[in-house]
Subunit: 411 residues, 2 copies
């Protein structure tokens, strides 16, 4: 069937023709995408309540229109990534029920019982199993798709299969545009003076961002999710599902833990600008930082265990190499975390964690705290020995800034 | 025309059918390959002397036979690499006259007027234009095929086009096998005791080799030649031609200068075991080291000039990034040079520079000097500020060792 864009009606016809629902069933169709790039339909049988999710691409960025064309191949890439992730972390990604590359669509189980983690975190929801789950997700996918496990030929074949045009979005939005007064940036007016007088003049920071951009462009270590923030994760008290793998490609291992940690730090600092009681905020902030500590500790422990049990390459079982590799990954994780904190503050795509602070001055104070914390993490990333030390820095910055107007001069 | 292996007769028929010679011409056909991997025919018109070179692959490694299969696609890769190199350094690679991917062959201009540089260097031949030429070759090809010049999408397309199965040969022969008593190593009996008692126990060195192997596997910076030693270069007093690009792929920029520098250092140290007069040796050794100094200095200068003139990426024109990039490239060049010196000493593929020393004890002394020098370069590569300092180290090691039996204890 040649490609054609689906609407509510044709999506319903499609899933019935594909045998996912009986021909005679009556379906409720709702579009539930966040509206940025793709169409996401929920199709539900009116009688028995059975439902599925259909993700479908237009040949352009949905929220912009035909002026920003985007390959249909992104759905094929997302489905391929889901299949590989499913192999190494079954149960931690949505199950695929049906896929069609030509139609640029994939049908997945409906996980409506779960919540997008970012939304939950903004309501101070805690996820008791999350550190355990996400550390397994990262330790397994990043290890088993790397040269530490795969033969070099297999790893290169994976690179070719995930030649992902969406990388350019990351290259521009994360590594380039936030470091100057780019037209696509979305800058809070209350933050703009700080950006103009201080942030956009930080040449040491731009240099570090350039080093990380070069890594992102050239370091093909393993299949990364490529966009592992809390908005790409569904969670509840017992389950975790990582979705939206359309940015997946063979890139630097540290990028996934980096984005995740960066988003946790943003959430932590955003609380200082919010309306919850002081006790509620403190308790949740401690939970957020404890999560980062636990996630990274478990991630490293599981990654090392995979290495000890499954690495057969003589060159990579040499004493000291595992420590070296994890040290590099730690430094790069901090670097990528910092770039994520920066770009979510005044780049094109923000986090609701901060943007739901309605008072622009208060929001600006939080944003400045995020930028200053990110800068310190970035510039000192070779000094920190363990994630505990980074967490202690963030904690100290967050708790000392709480409720205060920021200092006048901070350049 | 479906693939079939060519012999002397069918090669002659082929070039006539392809219009490279008149149908009626009488051709002399000689096979001039070094015999390792491919067939290389010289086809010459008996009457007017006009000649061409036809390089042709069998679906296996020629010198081993069908038990070591090797993709025919390697000739397509070599011809593609030649075309790209020709774009950026016209005149520094052989001209392609005809190519046929399906038949796994490429016909090139005959450069019989020139000599394989390694052979010339073993006869103390000097090449006055070489530093100028090879620095241009490296500075242009490595810069213009990198993310510093190409759009990320173009660079990635290049990676896909040069998905080269021959990389495995490098991975095994350079980075893994020389560091333990591997069956494929070819160890001079006079060197074996040193390898067993000393070299194969050097865990610090194995660790550095592992780091470089990981770079080779994951760092896709630009289109590298992949085997840039003096046996892959034709030279005479006025011309330089780089050939045998079948190992080309998108890898670490430092690999090409690293192999080249390593081969020059091997040549320098090999002279201590040879029969030339002391004055002849000294003079040539000074020329060799002066060449390294000049090559690397010109290479960096031209690479920087390309960057200043042609890099349009905002993230990469940030002050300090160019210095950082060249610093990394310098350290990695030294690392790759050291791995090359080591693997050519007792790995599967040696250099005639050393192996033409017939007395095995003398050869062993030279080999130990090479291994010790390589080790010092490898372990101290972050200390050296400039290539001058490395050259001074090699000079001091070479001149102090000259004519002496090596010290008893060197672990």
């Amino acid at each position: 069937m040649p490609y054609h864009p689906l609407d509510h009606h044709s999506a319903a016809r499609y899933v019935k023709a594909a045998g996912l629902f009986p021909k005679a069933s009556a379906l409720n169709v709702t579009e539930i995408g966040d509206g940025n790039i793709n169409m996401v339909f929920r199709l539900q049988d009116k009688h028995n309540g059975h439902s599925v999710i259909l993700k479908h691409a237009f040949p352009y960025v949905r929220c912009v229109g035909k002026s920003w064309p985007l390959t249909l191949d992104r759905i094929r890439i997302e489905a391929d990534a889901l299949e590989i992730q499913h192999r190494y972390v079954p149960g931690l990604v949505p199950r695929i029920l049906h896929r069609n590359n030509e139609m640029a669509l994939v049908v997945m189980e409906d996980l409506g019982r779960m919540e997008v983690m970012r939304k939950g975190m903004n309501k101070l929801r805690k996820y008791g199993r999350f550190a355990e789950h996400i550390s397994t997700f990262m330790a397994n996918v990043l290890f088993f798709t790397s040269d530490l496990f795969l033969a070099a030929r297999e790893k290169k074949a994976l690179s070719g299969r995930f030649d992902n045009p969406l990388c350019q979005i990351t290259e521009d939005l994360i590594f380039t545009e936030p470091y100057f007064d780019c037209a696509r940036n979305k800058v809070n007016p209350a933050l703009r003076p700080y950006c103009e007088r201080v942030f956009w003049r930080k040449s040491a920071l731009r240099l570090e961002a350039a080093k990380l951009k070069e890594k992102f462009l050239t370091q093909g270590q393993c299949l990364i999710h490529g966009d592992l923030h809390t908005g790409s994760i569904l969670a509840n008290a017992t389950e975790t599902k990582v979705f939206d793998s359309e940015f997946a490609f063979v890139g630097p291992a540290a990028f996934d833990p980096g984005l995740l940690v960066g988003n946790f730090f943003i959430n932590f600092l955003s609380l200082n600008g919010k309306e919850f009681s002081r006790a509620e905020k403190r308790a949740y902030q401690r939970y957020v930082l404890e999560s980062v500590r636990k996630i990274y500790q478990l991630f490293e422990r599981k990654f090392r265990r995979n290495w000890d049990q499954h690495c057969k390459e003589p060159a990579f079982v040499v004493p000291g190499f595992q420590d070296y590799y994890l040290r590099q990954m730690f430094e790069d994780t901090l670097g990528f975390a910092a770039t994520e904190m920066i770009r979510r503050t005044h780049g094109l795509a923000h986090n609701s964690d901060v943007d739901e602070i309605e008072d622009l001055t208060r929001r600006g104070d939080v944003q400045i705290a995020i930028l200053e914390t990110a800068e310190e993490i970035m510039l000192r990333r070779k000094e920190f020995r363990r994630m505990d030390e980074v967490v202690a820095l963030v904690e100290q910055r967050g708790f000392s800034a709480e409720g205060q107007r920021p200092r006048k001069n901070r350049n």
